[in-house]
């Protein structure tokens, strides 16, 4: 520990600390621009110059290491003179166009210039003008305002993992720019807006929409991936205008992924459904709530009477709130059915009934302490942008991250080892890893693995896991969707036991864990999502989901829904429900209702509505409550969402980790997999993953939102007699016309066709056999 005195106050800091760290500890503010707690030290803005005793000149607090007995003065004459001098330099070429700048009111340069700037400039020469850059649909630029702190550059390089911005040219001609003719395409790109201390980088969708002081700041939770990033939703006149991160070191740190940040645009879009709709005599009519709900009540009673309660099923999106899921299952079970599920893309349910409630298996923040990680079946960076970011940082230190997957997408993580095999071979490859690890440990090999021959990569991964002291194995979204997911689970569980690693799931959606806790999964008598569709029901309740995009077999889902007597679609949006539903109820998205998401580490995060429900939209928990009453069911007397939550959770826990469990007793390992001539790999691209992002206009303009193609490696293309760029007809269940695309990161005999998009909604199962021919 080193002792330091700053402005007369003394403290002790750890070796290697900087003067800035010590100042933070003492609560002393040192003005700065380029310094950021999560980025490397650049020391280029020079704003944090302070006087250090015995130093001949002022030193930057951010980059000066503390030495024992150091005496620092942050407000002495010499320090302030230096700081004011720097401020003058920063302002001479700055346009001072605060009245028309979106950053005005939340600008570090503006704020600090009040304290350190002069009221008039001594600079009478011409000012610099810098041409703006096109950074894509999310980030607006006013590069003349740039003060060259390079926070954005360091962010893309260090946090996002790919240096998409840099400082070109020299001296006064320096410019921050992307690669020539390229945009910034990172899924974390929006963070550079928060980092920019001036108005050089601002939000494009938010541009000129409001002044920051007109906006209310309200806390919320992201409804997208399993992380549950904490949000500040900014609101004006009951309209969401912007979303910013709320610092939470345990969850999202100070970052947001772009979908957390920009999906709000869907809330204000024309795609919102604002009135209950009823289909009568083949015509859709806008009706009042009373009519719609009474229709449902009557019709449901009819279906139950005619076909029995078991003919009722409910499909819920895992992006729905805990309260909504809880009341939906209570409603369905009240009506006498046990068929409800929120695991719409899952195909292998053989772990049901084994007490498995999949979760991360550890706190999110502990990822950085892991020394070995194996991720199985995950489009990691696009499925879990901020969890991937944590792994990226960990991999830079001492963590060896390995990946077993069906596609070789660049995760921008320094991987220790990777194995990319066809989906049908994933289980066998994992079995190889298990066998190699077992052999390395000198333990007895499981009889089921007797014939397995570990590959070179498998041995490498096994060796890394065996040599670790704090390892973890995670099953990704893709692994959870596969037909062999229970086998993968069993193998991963065995591997964890052998290597002493922790074992967890990367939760697919904001409420994947919450769905289990709310019991929105079938009971012993009920049908799971797949069976509800393969064995069509007579009545369906669809909550927040778009079955044609969200289900494991869209083709089959549409057939089942279209054949039903009653389909009630509850959604905030005008969806394809008009093709199959009988009633469509406009329910509130996450910003217009209070609710709870339980993230993948079991953290219970509740939030309030940040705006009033749009038009006739109503929170789904209220709708379900009224429906329960209409059917005369017991237990629908809750008068607040908090009451629903308390009932669902049996109290007000902050975590439900103790109710979560990844360990199953002896799921069978079945390594026999059918190997079709050509098999589909279906990713769920980041901006097609849920109803909100699909309707966020700016996100839809990004490169990640490019329409799905039929991607194959060169060998597969050649074998099929195709060339990249050709129009091809893809068939599995249904058909789709797509463009063939070369993707050398795919295994032989595989076609990658993304799910979650209109273009591929007509296709059948997300995996298994598929055919491709020239269109």
């Amino acid at each position: 520990m080193l002792e330091i005195e700053i402005d007369g106050k003394t403290t002790e800091v750890a070796d290697g600390s900087t003067v800035m760290d010590a100042a933070h500890k003492l609560g002393i503010f040192v003005p700065h621009f380029c310094y950021h707690k999560k980025l490397s030290i650049a020391a280029n803005c020079r704003m944090c110059l302070v006087q250090v005793e015995k130093a001949p000149k002022p030193l930057p607090a951010c980059a000066t290491p503390v030495t024992n007995g150091m005496k620092v003065f942050t407000h002495s004459e010499s320090a302030v003179k230096a700081q004011k001098g720097v401020m003058e330099f920063l302002l001479i070429n700055h346009p001072l166009d605060c009245p028309i700048c979106d950053q005005g009111g939340e600008c570090q340069l503006q704020d600090l210039s009040v304290g350190y700037g002069q009221s008039a400039s001594r600079y009478q020469e011409e000012k610099r003008v810098v041409v703006n850059k096109n950074l894509g649909p999310l980030i607006a630029t006013d590069m003349t305002r740039c003060i060259h702190c390079t926070r954005c550059v360091r962010f893309t390089q260090e946090i996002a993992g790919w240096m998409e911005l840099g400082q070109a040219f020299r001296g006064e001609h320096s410019e921050i720019m992307p690669f020539i003719e390229k945009t910034v395409d990172s899924e974390l790109s929006g963070n550079v807006i928060d980092l920019c201390p001036v108005g050089a980088l601002t939000s494009k969708p938010f541009r000129f929409a409001a002044r920051t002081w007109e906006l209310s700041r309200r806390k919320s939770v992201s409804p997208h991936d399993g992380l549950g990033a904490n949000l500040i939703v900014q609101v004006k006149h009951d309209k969401v205008l912007r979303v910013l991160p709320l610092d939470n070191e345990h969850v999202n740190e100070c970052w947001l992924s772009d979908k957390d940040r920009y999906s709000y645009e869907a809330l204000n879009s024309d795609a919102r459904l604002t009135k209950p709709m009823l289909k009568q005599c083949g015509e859709w009519r806008e009706v009042d709530w009373q009519t719609a709900l009474e229709f449902i009540g009557t019709d449901l009673k009819r279906v139950v009477r005619d076909h029995g309660a078991a003919s009722v099923g409910a499909l819920a999106s895992p992006h729905a709130t805990l309260e909504e899921l809880y009341l939906l299952q209570k409603f369905v079970r009240g009506a006498g059915s046990d068929s409800i599920d929120c695991r719409l893309r899952q195909t292998d349910f053989s772990l049901d009934g084994k007490n498995v409630v999949p979760w991360l298996g550890m706190p999110v923040a502990d990822i950085q302490q892991l020394d070995r990680v194996l991720v199985i079946g995950s489009f990691l960076r696009k499925d879990h942008p901020l969890l991937a970011q944590r792994l990226r940082q960990a991999a830079k230190k001492f963590t060896r991250v390995s990946l077993l997957h069906a596609a070789d997408d660049d995760q921008l993580i320094a991987l220790h080892a990777k194995s990319v095999v066809a989906p049908s071979a994933l289980a066998a490859e994992l079995a190889g890893i298990v066998k190699a690890a077992t052999e390395a440990k000198g333990a007895a090999v499981d009889a089921a693995l007797a014939n397995v021959q570990p590959s070179v990569a498998a041995r490498q991964i096994a060796e890394s896991l065996v040599s670790g002291e704090n390892a973890a194995i995670f099953l990704g979204n893709y692994a959870q969707q596969l037909a062999q997911s229970a086998t993968l689970h069993a193998l991963a569980q065995q591997l964890a036991a052998i290597t002493g690693a922790r074992f967890g799931y990367l939760g697919e959606a904001a409420n994947s864990v919450g769905g289990y806790i709310a019991k929105a999964v079938p009971g012993a008598q009920g049908l799971n999502a797949a069976r509800m569709l393969s064995e069509p029901r007579k009545a369906y309740f669809v909550l927040h989901a778009e079955p044609e995009l969200d289900c494991a077999n869209p083709h089959q889902a549409m057939a089942a829904l279209k054949g039903a007597d009653l389909v009630v679609a509850m959604t905030p949006f005008k969806t394809r429900a008009i093709d199959y539903a009988h009633v469509i109820l406009p329910i509130a998205p996450f910003t217009e209702t209070s609710g709870t998401f339980i993230n993948t580490e079991g953290r219970v995060q509740s939030f309030n509505a940040v705006v009033k429900p749009l038009d006739e939209t109503r929170p789904a928990w209220k709708v379900l409550r009224v429906l329960g009453n209409l059917l005369g069911l017991a237990g629908f007397e809750q008068d607040s969402s908090e009451a629903v939550r308390t009932e669902a959770l049996g109290g007000k826990p902050e975590f439900v980790s103790e109710r979560l469990n990844n360990r199953a007793e002896g799921p069978a390992i079945d390594l026999t997999a059918a190997v079709p001539a050509l098999q589909r790999i279906a990713d769920v691209p980041i901006y097609f993953a849920d109803a909100l992002v699909r309707r966020a206009p700016s996100l839809q303009k990004t490169r990640d939102a490019a329409p799905p193609a039929a991607r194959m490696n060169a060998a597969t293309l050649a074998k099929l007699g195709l060339n990249a760029g050709m129009q091809v007809k893809v068939s599995s269940g249904g058909t789709a016309i797509l463009t063939a695309q070369l993707d050398d990161g795919l295994p032989d005999g595989c076609v990658r066709v993304a799910a979650g998009h209109e273009l591929t909604a007509g296709l059948g199962a997300l995996q298994g056999e598929i055919t491709v021919e020239r269109a």
Partner: protein
């Protein structure tokens, strides 16, 4: 190696850059001596300390001391880097060393590698001197063929490989950490220090960077001993030094003279003032050194201490001589433009300040000066100096400050009368390019 000017003067024979010629002059004797006498590394560094050799790149840091900072026991890669990125206006000595005597630099670097336990070296050569780069590469080929570079040099157990690296002409890459960034393939921008290169240098490994002339002085010190080298110059200022004399003299060029030689003598060696005109001012150490008026410089001897006492720096030994036909405002305008163009743009005071300085000086030169401009210039330089990551900010400020200090009257005349104190036609005549009208 008997002559006084052992670097350049000794290398005046036909094809002096060839290995054979160098060996004839006693080249690589120092290296052989180290191997045959098994001189330990400590002793090599000790000899350097004794010699009072100070860094020839401009800062004048004692070389022996610098070498002793290298953590020789540090396991893994360590580097020795030669800074031949000679970009300072007025300086043109390193290119002549590499042109006529490249092997002396190579030998110096091998000895440095031996002394500091490095197995790899780089010579970063300025981007605008292609022929020199080529010649150095040829010298490396010769040295490798003669097992002077590579594994087990001359049968010893010491191995050392040396590469040349061609820069792209940016002045800032002469700053040692920017140079390292540039070798690493990154944009040439100085790093914040600490950590210093001795602990975190090239590719993050301990690295020592010296000037070309510094390395070229090493073989002599090993051959003749540190004491002998020190005796060449004067106490605390060992050896001889190359001075690049340019400007209004009859015979501009490089002159290798002992440290402590009176300026008067150097001026005489350079053929005296052109056209017999009167000396007005001298920048004694490259464009970033403060200018000294004639009466001050004529009393100086050429060594670090004397020049420093007079208020300037010996720097890289680039002596820019200006006679009475020089307009000091125009001269400063040109210098300020250089620093404005060459600032790397990384840190605020230099990026913004150099442009400000240039624009104000430009305005004064063009008859648009204002009475408050000189105070403004002084205040801006105060705000740049000592506030930047590297010394370029200081380098840009010192000419401004010293020109105003010594020739303030000329600036004031410009501001008041909107023209030069030295009439235009006199300036033209002095340039040597125009006839007197």
């Amino acid at each position: 190696m008997g002559t006084l000017g052992f670097i350049l003067e000794a290398a005046e024979g036909e094809r002096s850059w060839r290995l054979a010629e160098y060996v004839k002059r006693g080249g690589y004797d120092a290296l052989k001596k180290i191997f045959s006498e098994k001189i330990p590394a400590d002793q090599v560094v000790g000899e350097l300390k004794k010699s009072s050799l100070r860094g020839r790149g401009g800062a004048g840091f004692p070389t022996g001391l610098k070498w002793s900072f290298m953590p020789r026991q540090f396991p893994g890669a360590k580097y020795v880097v030669c800074n031949s990125d000679e970009g300072e206006p007025g300086t043109f000595k390193d290119r002549d060393i590499l042109r006529w005597n490249p092997h002396m630099v190579i030998e110096g670097m091998i000895i440095a590698g031996y002394a500091m336990g490095c197995q790899r070296g780089y010579n970063y050569i300025h981007g605008e001197i292609w022929d020199i780069y080529k010649r150095f590469e040829e010298a490396l080929v010769e040295a490798r063929a003669a097992n002077l570079l590579g594994n087990n040099i001359l049968g010893s157990d010491f191995s050392f490989e040396l590469q040349a690296h061609h820069g792209y002409g940016a002045y800032i890459c002469g700053e040692e950490t920017a140079l390292l960034e540039s070798i690493e393939g990154k944009k040439g921008q100085p790093r914040f220090k600490p950590p210093f290169p001795a602990s975190y240098g090239l590719y993050g490994k301990p690295t020592t960077i010296n000037n070309t002339e510094t390395f070229a002085s090493v073989p002599y010190i090993i051959n003749e001993g540190g004491d002998r080298f020190l005796e060449l110059g004067k106490p605390n200022n060992g050896g001889t030094k190359l001075f690049s004399v340019s400007g209004h003299v009859n015979r501009p060029g490089n002159f290798e003279v002992p440290m402590g030689t009176p300026f008067k003598d150097l001026l005489e060696m350079a053929g005296g003032m052109r056209g017999g005109r009167k000396l007005k001012a001298v920048i004694p150490g490259g464009s970033s050194a403060p200018v000294l008026p004639a009466d001050v410089i004529m009393e100086c001897t050429l060594d670090y201490d004397s020049i420093a006492k007079a208020g300037s720096m010996l720097g890289s030994g680039a002596v820019i001589v200006m006679d009475e036909t020089t307009c000091m405002v125009k001269a400063l305008e040109r210098l300020s433009y250089f620093y404005f163009e060459e600032s790397c743009g990384q840190c605020t005071p230099c990026r913004e300040g150099t442009g400000w300085l240039y624009r104000v000086v430009h305005r004064i030169e063009h008859g648009e000066g204002r009475p408050e401009d000189l105070d403004l210039l002084n205040s801006v330089t105060d705000n740049i100096m000592g506030r930047t990551i590297c010394a370029l900010g200081d380098a840009a400020s010192m000419p401004v400050k010293s020109f105003i200090k010594h020739f303030g009257a000329e600036f004031e005349y410009h501001i008041q009368n909107k023209k030069c104190l030295v009439p235009e036609d006199v300036q033209r005549a002095g340039s040597g390019f125009f006839k007197v009208s």
